[in-house]
């Protein structure tokens, strides 16, 4: 086996050195009746070339070469090539968690820079070294609010990513945390009247996403005021990190739980991604996840270490703030490099391109179909309502090697034939025009079918 650095003679020499007659001696502690005396039924050993071929085949079967209008928590942005050049360095790729600080300063300093940039972008005072993803970050942020307030229930925006809501529900059901759902208005924003009614003496926090699942930017200040007046915290979820380049961050929130996938992380069929929690300094000891802090060595030289570990499971065991053990270090490094590349000016320009493409697309779609939720600002997503089932329209669009917007029937049946469309800097005008053309065609054919039907009715009327 090519990954194993031993010759048969080496193995013999080692067996001899340890005084074993055969390798079976070493497995003697395993009761004989359980020892496996056959080959595992897994595919035979493959050459590297065969492995590459096998996965190339899978890649071809997986939408290779399609243009996408999908967003919904996973965004297609350009990834500068130096991200992969740098994260492919074995010193980053094949290092462990930086517990031995003296030989992990590369990882530690980069996380410190990551934490700093996340603070700058979110307007928060502290950020952790990353979490599994946006859904678990939101869930952990809510549990943090429960610990901080001593209250147990949560008011959740229905416009929060439906799968984030599902993850929270899984955790909450076992933590004795009642969940209240708060709807949205005609503008796509959180229904503030309903919010007021749903916050009780036991509400630990309000959880809201902005830009929300429909792409609509929430009035975070108004939501924060309602929550804070009633002694509840505000947890803000951000699924589209690029929005931070041009959309005011939810500074009025107490905790921000974000998904940073948009910052240089491949779509990768849903993971690995990069969640992050950011909050105010006063709450840091209730924050889950790893943290890197600055310190000095014995000669007074600046260095970095993992810190405040007393919150964590390997020290606190069942009393830890969370059972989380890993972060997403390598993915956080991608995010870090991406933020460094675009920086102060580039992130704004990038976000502006997203805004422009989306404004154009929404306007074009609006000429032929109904674009829902007017009246509130949006970032790079919008909901289009059609006469025909969006699955049917999408299957025609797919013929042009374009993946249409996400049909929402599964998550929001009340919106009827609606789909969530997303444009990024990578969406070309011609792809938009093609998709809009096919939606327009669908609307025309539904309309003419209706007219035909009413003509038929008229004819029958006349005949009668």
């Amino acid at each position: 086996m090519r990954y194993l650095p031993k010759s048969p003679a080496d193995r013999e020499a080692i067996l001899k050195a340890i005084g074993a007659r055969s390798i079976d001696d070493l497995f003697a502690p395993i009761p004989a009746e359980y020892r496996l005396h056959r080959d595992l039924k897994v595919p035979h050993q493959m050459a590297e070339s065969e492995i590459v071929d096998w996965f190339r085949e899978r890649s071809r079967e997986n939408g290779d070469g399609y243009i996408t209008f999908l967003g919904a928590g996973a965004y297609s942005h350009y990834r500068p090539v130096i991200i992969d050049s740098l994260i492919s360095r074995g010193e980053f790729l094949t290092a462990y968690t930086p517990y031995q600080a003296e030989i992990s300063q590369g990882t530690l300093q980069s996380i410190f820079e990551f934490q700093t940039m996340i603070c700058e972008l979110t307007g928060m005072e502290v950020a952790n070294a990353s979490m599994y993803d946006g859904s678990t970050a939101a869930t952990e942020a809510v549990m943090m609010a429960v610990r901080l307030t001593g209250r147990r229930s949560v008011a959740i925006a229905r416009s929060l990513h439906p799968e984030y809501r599902e993850v929270l529900a899984t955790y909450a059901s076992h933590q004795g945390m009642p969940l209240a759902s708060v709807g949205f208005t005609e503008s796509g924003r959180l229904d503030l009247k309903e919010l007021e009614k749903s916050i009780t003496q036991d509400t630990a926090c309000v959880l809201v996403q902005s830009p929300n699942f429909f792409g609509t930017i929430e009035d975070v200040a108004a939501i924060a005021e309602i929550a804070h007046q009633r002694g509840a915290m505000l947890v803000a979820s951000i699924a589209e990190a690029v929005s931070l380049g041009i959309v005011e961050p939810p500074r009025q929130a107490d905790v921000i739980a974000m998904e940073a996938q948009s910052f240089g992380v491949p779509l990768g069929f849903g993971g690995p991604y990069c969640g992050v929690i950011a909050t105010r300094e006063q709450y840091v000891r209730q924050m889950p996840g790893r943290l890197v802090g600055q310190t000095t060595d014995r000669n007074g030289k600046r260095g970095f270490v993992l810190t405040l570990a007393t919150r964590e499971q390997h020290i606190r065991r069942e009393k830890a703030t969370s059972n989380i053990c890993t972060n997403q270090a390598l993915v956080a490094l991608m995010v870090n490099i991406f933020m460094t590349i675009y920086g102060k000016v580039g992130l704004r320009e990038l976000a502006k391109h997203n805004l422009a493409k989306t404004a154009y697309a929404a306007q074009q779609f609006g000429k032929h179909a109904k674009v829902l939720f007017p009246g509130a600002p949006r970032f790079n997503e919008f909901v289009v309502q059609t006469s025909e089932d969006p699955y049917a329209i999408n299957s025609r669009i797919l013929g042009h090697k374009i993946v249409g917007g996400l049909p929402l029937k599964k998550f929001y049946p009340e919106l009827g034939n609606a789909a969530l469309w997303c444009c990024t800097e990578l969406t070309t005008r011609s792809a938009i025009d093609t998709a809009v053309g096919l939606v327009a065609e669908s609307e025309r054919s539904v309309k003419s079918a209706k007219e035909e039907a009413s003509v038929q009715d008229d004819v029958q009327e006349v005949v009668r």
């Binding site: 990954y3 340890i18 395993i30 399609y66 462990y96 003296e102 940039m117 950020a127 920086g343 404004a359």
Partner: protein, 496 residues
Amino acid sequence: MKHVTRKATRHVNQNEGLIFEKSSAGKAAWKLAPLDVPDVDTTQLLGSSERKDLGHMPEVSEIEIIRHFTRLSTWNYAIDLGMYPLGSCTMKYNPRVNEVVSRLEGLANGHPYQPEKISQGALRILKTLSECLIEITGMDAITLQPAAGAQGELTGLLMVRAYHQSKGHPRKKILIPDSAHGTNPATAATAAYAVENLKSNDRGMVDVAALAAQMNEEVAALMLTNPNTLGVFEQEIARIAEIMHAKGGLLYMDGANMNALVGKVRPGDFGVDVMHLNLHKTFSTPHGGGGPGSGPVAVKHMLEPFLPKPVVITKPDGTLGFEYNRPQSVGRVRAFYGNFGMFVRALAYTLANGPDGLRQTTEDAVLNANYIRKGLEGAYDLPYSTPSMHEVVFSDKLQAKKGVRTMDIAKRVIDYGFHPYTTAFPLIVHGALMIEPTESESKEEMDLFIEAMRSIAEEVEEDPEMVLAAPHTTRVSRLDEVAAARKPVLRWKPGS
């Protein structure tokens, strides 16, 4: 004239500052393609939601970024540089073909919500990996959704809870041996179970009599690591499973140490009902400085209805798809389908090995641990003489007499060019040195490590102060962790 050096030091790449310290207005490492749609008035579109300023985000050029991160990378130790014998972490070689195939266009750019019709490649990968892992563990069904080992544990316990609930009573307690990883009790608490400690016997194994005494109808499951954190196979595993099952309890196995078992024995065959795997340990996906991990959970038939949703199914037309209609499911533990990129790598590793390679890998891992054990016996105290599987645990008892503890020895190991072993774990060994070489070490590399460790043992006798001050050869010396925790500085600020 005498030349005065101010900022420049010898080996300037050893003194790389923070990226913010290199920033100045007008530098850029980005360029966007020209906008092919009309430009927009952002104030008109966003109103008061418009952000005007991005604070202290850096402005640097591409070459500066390359140098910055390349310099930082050289301050890390890594498997690619040498032996990384962290016990319980399984720091094995991370094959490069895994990285190449995970970056193939259709896999790297696949959107999780793209239609199933054009997701057959990804679905095939999910299904093939699932089948391989089910066969390797001897279980009946699996979920790949959990993002890491600890989330796998949680998913497993949620299924345990749902299973008991379906029988009318979720039960109250989880039994956990005192040798267990800290995640086990933390996870049990997250799943709203009370934790009851189980003492190990004098051979470092579960005390079967104590287990029988503690087991009752309020115990939902035993969370057992096998081989346990001492690297010892629980020889009475059949009896343990029997005790649990007799009172309706389940046997959960923490698969952190699966590298000792693959191809030699299957947990499903010795009575395990539910277990998680760590793809970043046993299946070679890179640790990446602390993640991403991936923690699939394999279960026996009776737990299958409770798997997180969705699950992958074969549809009547032979194509693959996701099934969401799972009324008894514990729900979702993560958005989308899990850390797919890690599945690609783990499958590539499995395909590269095949059945014979997987078995040889396990044999070599166990062989290596025993070689290290033999090589260090005498120089370090071996608290349990029970046979070792893939890792061996020594203690600092001999060195403590000179005031040198496991962490000090670990720091001195750094000077010899190795990553330290795991220190101070498991908790049942006072001053533990937990060593797991994995199969990836050659005899030559292990001989060097053994010699280094023996030589440190001598240094402790001759010059303990020198060991206490280690490491001596790194870019920074021992860092003040107490100060870091007392007055946390968790971000850079201008002027700091």
